[in-house]
């Protein structure tokens, strides 16, 4: 008789788990979120979700705060990841109002697969810089030095925008007689790791494990600057990343979403982007 209780006892922990996760589900808005406040007299209200490239993390968190200050009834939740990951998430049915990509390719793909609105717009640019640890164990002073033997170089892998741009930059340098045709091959011989995203490149250099890495200028935050030195890549060999933003195909709150895109492109939004190392749309 008492054995009949056992199945129920087995179900109990499942119920407890389910209740636990249900409770956790409400608490999903970390730092990146501006808490929703009660709608007031302002016309905009409700929350939106923005899928944004990971290089936008700091800038967009600040823009989200400023947007919320300007529109207390509206709140923005961010999901930061590689542009490719975000596009894949959207294609697999993730719900979002806005997609902000670190290149035009992922945006074009998202538009082509029908998850992003065709009216995308360019809102920022970014450029590449070489970073080396402050101690600079490999003695790298110039771009040419990246081709020196026995350097530990890390790049983002060729599948993510930062990795693609890094290789394009090496290509253009190789076409320049000052670098020589073998430049790219010599540099890539030094490659010890292809990181999953540009933040990992910065981390490997910051930790001093790598002698050099190529990241976006916006990645060199004040925090990172304590541990790394920047080496500029001249305009002729630099590849400028183009950031595009668009509504998704089915935004849940189109009014707030449109207002957010306008805000990103406004003088206030552009100023925040500049303060985080981006170049603004007009430049």
């Amino acid at each position: 008789m008492s054995r009949t209780r056992h199945p129920l006892l087995l179900v109990l922990p499942i119920l407890v788990f389910a209740a636990f996760f249900a409770a956790c589900g409400d608490d999903n808005d970390g730092d990146a979120t501006t808490p929703a406040s009660t709608p007031t007299a302002v016309p905009l209200s409700g929350g939106i979700t923005v899928f944004a490239a990971s290089s936008l993390t700091n800038a967009f968190n600040e823009i989200g705060g400023a947007f919320h200050d300007a529109n207390p009834g509206a709140s923005v939740t961010f999901n930061f990841a590689g542009s490719q990951d975000l596009r894949t998430q959207l294609e697999q049915g993730a719900r979002a109002d806005i997609f902000a990509s670190a290149d035009t390719k992922q945006m074009d793909n998202a538009v082509a697969s029908g998850v992003a609105s065709a009216e995308s717009s360019v809102f920022a640019h970014n450029r590449l810089v070489v970073i080396v640890p402050k101690a600079n164990p490999a003695g790298i002073q110039t771009l040419q030095d990246l081709a020196n033997p026995n350097i530990k170089l890390v790049l983002a892998n060729a599948g993510v925008p930062a990795g693609k741009y890094s290789r394009q930059s090496l290509d253009t340098a190789s076409a320049d007689p000052a670098f020589g045709a073998a430049y790219k091959d010599n540099v890539l011989t030094n490659l010890v790791s292809e990181e999953a995203n540009v933040k990992q490149v910065a981390a490997k250099v910051q930790l001093g494990e790598a002698d050099a890495g190529i990241v976006y200028s916006s990645d060199v935050t004040p925090e990172l600057s304590k541990d790394v030195t920047k080496i500029d890549i001249p305009d002729t060999h630099n590849v400028v990343a183009t950031y595009t933003i668009a509504l998704t195909a089915e935004p849940s709150n189109e009014a707030v979403a449109r207002a957010f895109i306008d805000f990103v492109r406004s003088d206030d939004g552009q100023a925040i982007l500049v303060s985080h190392g981006f170049l603004v749309a007009g430049s």
Partner: protein, 275 residues
């Protein structure tokens, strides 16, 4: 007469027990099985599956994974077995501390393991300067992959091996001593053979854990095709460019893992029957 339940009531309660048990088992099997089935089904359905499997990135990652996990497993067994034996047979000050320390990698997120390995063996790590002057470079090498795998997987082996040694009759070794065996001989010729099923089970679990290792590896070893990019890292890396290669790698990884676990199950069952 009143206290004993009637046969009818008993059979109803038995039937309901079976039904509830079957439903719960069904839910669990579906929950665990559906994602696995989905990957295999989708991978095979993709017309490019066989191209993807035979592409150089996939074969390179598979080769690297099989090589590194084999070396890791040899190291884990070679060093882990004596440790498990000592922990099982002797009590000394700090015994509990060491026991707990060995369990720690099981509960830590692998990224913590990777960070710890960097802080210990990286260029700026505790041993970094010493290793550097000795001309030994670990970060971004295959050695780093093996160290990451060994770090996260060895507790699974040591745990199982210790449980095996704990469970066996200590009189067996006492008999060996009275017959003139040294401690080492008793360990090698009595304890290890008797505890073999536990050692094998631990080895399979440790190998499986090493095969799936991602977080510590990407942190400590980086990701470079043919050198540090094992199958889990390759799956992550190729997700950036499409779904074909990750699917193919996932499917192959699932098939290999399933084959090994299943073969192990059959083998131990046969061993148990012959004993």
């Amino acid at each position: 007469m009143t206290s004993a339940p009637s046969p009818a009531w008993r059979s109803i309660s038995l039937a309901s027990e079976v039904a509830v048990g079957a439903v719960i088992c069904g839910i669990v099997v579906l929950f665990l099985g559906l994602p696995i089935f989905a990957i295999i089904e989708r991978a095979v359905r993709e017309t490019s599956f066989f191209d993807a499997v035979s592409s150089s990135g996939v074969t390179e990652a598979l080769r690297l994974s099989l090589e590194t996990t084999t070396i890791s497993l040899v190291l884990i067994v070679l060093f882990g077995t004596p440790v498990a034996y000592v922990l099982s047979r002797s009590r000394f000050p700090g015994h509990q501390l060491i026991d707990t320390l060995i369990d720690l990698p099981i509960v830590l997120p692998p990224a913590v393991g990777g960070l710890g390995l960097l802080m210990a063996f990286g260029r700026r790590g505790i041993l970094g300067g010493w290793l550097d002057s000795a001309g030994i470079e670990i970060a971004f090498t295959t050695t780093a992959v093996i160290m990451a795998q060994t770090f996260v997987a060895s507790p699974f082996y040591i745990r199982a091996a210790k449980a095996g040694f704990d469970a066996m009759d200590a009189d067996l070794e006492a008999v060996a001593y009275t017959l003139g065996s040294s401690r080492f001989e008793a360990f090698r010729r009595v304890a290890v053979p008797v505890a073999m099923p536990s050692l094998l089970a631990g080895a399979v679990m440790a190998w499986a854990r090493a095969l799936g290792e991602f977080g510590a590896t990407i942190m400590f070893a980086g990701s470079f095709a043919g050198r540090t990019q094992t199958v889990p890292l390759a799956i992550y890396r190729y997700l950036e460019t499409g779904i074909d290669v990750p699917l193919a790698l996932s499917a192959v990884l699932i098939l290999i893992s399933f084959a090994v676990l299943f073969a192990f199950r059959l083998l131990t069952r046969r061993a148990a029957l012959t004993l």
